[in-house]
Subunit: 215 residues, 2 copies
């Protein structure tokens, strides 16, 4: 499958690398067409990897992953272009982190609104699926890094899009437990959870952590 | 130990009943001295159970549990009286739920502030420990209701108070895993988690649920 990955940071690099190793053709998108980090990634990732501007990556992909910082996501997606995202699955893994008050960060959305909802509202013709934002980049693509069963969540308004993303999560990323939380408003739940995640990180002294839901 | 339980709802009744059955003397506090639910509870709970106004319960207890609705908690604690809480452990199990926008509720604190912090700020001479607010009343006092290991959190500014509350959680309530998240500002994490908990409730169709942290 052809996949566009927007963002060249830890999350974008981890996801793009994993998708290439799973056999997908992946174009990493960044602000410019000659981003040094994107070029370095293409060289390392090898066959199936390419890079370009945000719009190039979005146009290339049958699916796009938003791996940008939450505060920049809407602007980046505008640069990627609504026409390039129309009818496609847009996997949103970003978090609405607000570092303006220092550490630990707070959130600029999550209670009565969420970044996932804002993206869906701004791009009504894309099928936004929120997922993976509850773990760090390492665990996203290697859930076995944490000991014992743990879970990842999906939410979004399109059932088919969630099913396709769930296939990628299980088949390509190795997730065994994918919990469907419902429509995109459930992003309020997974984004707000970050405030607990940050405290767990502090208490456990590792960011390689996750939760398993039991009932 | 003498314990005051503020609140006559499901949470207050569950906790007060469990504490009596564990051998503590428990006074349930409510707005009036002749609250029918409190009187009914005293009859059912039997030896060790008594009831009175909020101030009676707070004065009686060496420890107090805040089991009131989050929106009412500060007013109830004012009625209980700062002098009656001075130097004591105040276990806060309330959540800052805001039902004004309908269901699911949002939160009136949790991002850059928390109910736990507001209570600690309003009662600086009490030792506030936030705990148990991440599970429903049934699971609070019977963690075995969910299958498999799951965790409960404590946070607060007084290490001795957290140790004493942890003893009650493990010895009296049956919790095996108590995670100390740090000072009372960590209540932002456990309170914000409610927004995920509400979605899990919807997705799993049961409120008898919890999470286990793995790393």
């Amino acid at each position: 499958m052809k996949i566009g990955v927007l963002g060249t940071g830890m999350v974008g690099t981890a996801i793009a690398t994993k998708l290439v190793s799973a056999g997908h053709e992946v174009r990493m998108g960044s602000r410019s067409r000659d981003n040094p980090k994107a070029k370095e990634w293409v060289e390392k990732a090898g066959r199936g990897a390419s890079q370009g501007a945000f719009a190039d990556a979005a146009a290339f992909g049958e699916i796009a992953f938003n791996c940008t910082a939450g505060a920049a996501s809407l602007e980046v997606l505008q640069a990627a272009g609504a026409a390039n995202l129309r009818g496609k699955i847009l996997v949103d893994v970003a978090n609405p982190l607000d570092f303006s008050r220092g550490m630990p960060p707070s959130l600029f959305a999550g209670n009565t609104d969420s970044l996932g909802e804002r993206i869906q509202a701004a791009f009504p013709d894309a099928k936004v699926v929120k997922t993976l934002n509850t773990v760090n980049a390492s665990v996203m693509i290697d859930p076995g890094r944490v000991r014992g069963d743990s879970d990842v969540f999906v939410c979004g308004n399109d059932a088919g899009a969630k099913a396709e993303v769930t296939r990628i999560l299980t088949k390509d990323f190795g997730w065994k437990n994918v919990i469907d939380l419902g429509d995109i408003t459930a992003a309020r739940g997974t984004e707000s959870y970050l405030l607990l995640w940050l405290r767990l990180w502090g208490a456990l002294n590792t960011a390689d952590l996750n939760i398993h839901v039991v009932h």
